[in-house]
């Protein structure tokens, strides 16, 4: 991911995107086939589908699924990570489970969830959440292991209590780890959501891509992909990176 720093020049990004477009244009005009439409053709499809509302509709549904499973995975994964990082016994007990879930292919989880819970929204979100939780646990557990004993003792002497200790000592210390988990999480979750939609949902970007695949409609496929990648990138730049800066503002 590209770190966006204040005052860093923006032209390299624009130049590289322009270069990509030129390359694409040249390739499309050489091949002259509907399996590789020109950038302009894709743009026209994009404008058409945005105007008639189908693209925003499917995009919003996919984003809602991404958001639901992203926050669930982050919440549950952080809780498990903190507990495992703080307790040697629970860490040992949970570690082999963690390894199983880390190595479980996303496709297996998705198919099993659909088989066991039916082709439902709950099953879809559950499958994505289960896929993401182990990564969050591993990252947050590292943070919990590195918690400062000095500060925890300070909180104990000054009678902070559980809630105050969690809010003012534990969570700020875990901040960088949670944000790292969130950023890699966003990247993974939306890709898995597309697969989930392809296999068992009748709405969303994944479902549409599958439809376009059957129709051999590459222009629509690319239009949806570009729209979706742009939205995710905006979230990264507009939400996650400012959050990260805010969480780090106390650093020298």
């Amino acid at each position: 991911m590209i770190p966006l720093r204040l005052r860093s020049p923006i032209w390299p990004y624009i130049a590289s995107i322009a270069a990509l477009l030129v390359l694409w244009e040249v390739a499309a005009s050489i091949i002259q086939s509907r399996v590789l439409p020109t950038p302009m053709a894709v743009l026209l499809v994009l404008v058409r589908d945005v105007a008639d509302g189908t693209l925003p509709y499917h995009l919003m549904i996919t984003l809602a699924r991404v958001a639901a499973s992203f926050f669930l995975a982050l919440l549950i994964g952080t809780a498990i990570g903190v507990v495992m990082g703080r307790s040697v016994l629970l860490d040992r007990l949970g570690d082999s489970w963690l390894i199983v879930f880390l190595n479980l292919p996303a496709l297996v989880t998705i198919v099993l969830c659909y088989v066991w819970f039916g082709l439902t929204e709950v099953a879809a979100i559950l499958a994505v959440t289960i896929n993401k939780i182990p990564n969050v646990v591993v990252t947050v557990r590292e943070g919990a292991r590195a918690l400062s004993r000095d500060l925890l003792e300070m909180a104990q002497v000054f009678q902070f209590g559980r809630w105050k200790t969690l809010r003012h000592v534990v969570l700020p210390a875990l901040g960088p780890f949670i944000i790292a988990a969130a950023r890699s999480g966003l990247a993974i979750v939306w890709k898995i959501v597309l697969v989930v939609e392809l296999l068992g949902r009748s709405s969303g970007v994944g479902f549409q891509i599958n439809l376009f695949f059957q129709l051999f409609d590459v222009a629509s496929m690319l239009a949806y992909t570009i729209a979706f990648v742009a939205v995710i990138q905006l979230l990264e730049l507009g939400v996650l990176q400012p959050l990260e800066r805010r969480a780090n503002r106390w650093r020298r």
Partner: protein, 248 residues
């Protein structure tokens, strides 16, 4: 009136790896009167921090008993100034101090007064990592006084500061303590520092630590400016009790 009674029969550290079990404290008994400033002096590594951690309730793996001063309501408030300042780096100076207050205590004006007295008024909204070591220690001192503690524990709070800074902080400690009298245990390995501050000095023996001597300092604090007098007191203490605390 007795505010604090410490009666530790034994504190042992279990064997770890090749290091054998270690008897840190044994038959260590002393008391402190309400409002008394007691300096605990002992050689490095004799278990002074262990002793404070036991009194603070951080270390409960010992045999014996510690009776704390009674609090107004329920558990007594203990102010602890650790060797390192132990401030939350992600909270400003003001937030660090306000966080230790109990719900009924959050009077911002009082905290701001305390910051002004300790010379921290200008850095109230600064994050701790931007402070010098001396400033950080000052915040830790202000934080400990902010809760209006029944007992104040200080663990070599001025160590590794240059002498003028350490001396300013000692005067500051005395000044705040006069405004807010409370029972104080001040741990140090520096007998000179103890003589400057204490009502009474408790000398600890080398490990396993026990109380080697309890020496009241009767000279009024105002008269303890004179270096020659401090040195004379130091020699007197060492002369009387030097055997048990050679390394102090």
């Amino acid at each position: 009136m007795t505010a604090l009674e410490v009666d530790i029969r034994e504190k042992r550290y279990p064997a770890v790896g090749r290091a054998g079990a270690n008897l840190a404290l044994q038959a260590l008994r002393f008391e402190a009167a309400r409002g008394e400033l007691v300096c605990i002096v002992g050689p490095s590594g004799c278990g002074k921090t262990t002793l404070l951690n036991i009194i603070a309730g951080l270390d409960q793996a010992y045999s014996g008993q510690v009776t704390l001063p009674s609090g107004g309501d329920g558990r007594p408030m203990i102010g602890y100034v650790f060797q390192n300042a132990r401030l939350l780096p992600w909270r400003t100076v003001l937030e660090n101090i306000e966080l230790v207050l109990r719900p009924g205590q959050s009077h911002r004006q009082r905290v701001l007064d305390l910051l002004a007295v300790t010379g921290l008024g200008d850095v109230a909204h600064v994050y701790p990592e931007r402070l010098s070591v001396g400033m950080g220690r000052r915040v830790a001192l202000a934080r400990a006084f902010a809760i209006d503690p029944q007992l104040l524990l200080l663990d070599e709070p001025f160590v590794s500061l240059d002498e003028p800074t350490a001396d300013r902080l000692r005067q500051l400690l005395l000044e705040v303590w006069r405004r807010q009298p409370t029972t104080v245990l001040f741990v140090t390995h520096d007998l000179r520092e103890a003589i400057l501050l204490a009502d009474r000095i408790v000398l600890l023996s080398p490990p396993p630590a026990r109380v080697a001597a309890s020496i009241p300092i009767t000279v009024p604090r105002e008269a303890r400016h004179d270096d020659a007098m401090i040195e004379a007191l130091r020699r007197q203490v060492l002369g009387e009790f030097g055997e048990s605390v050679r390394s102090v």
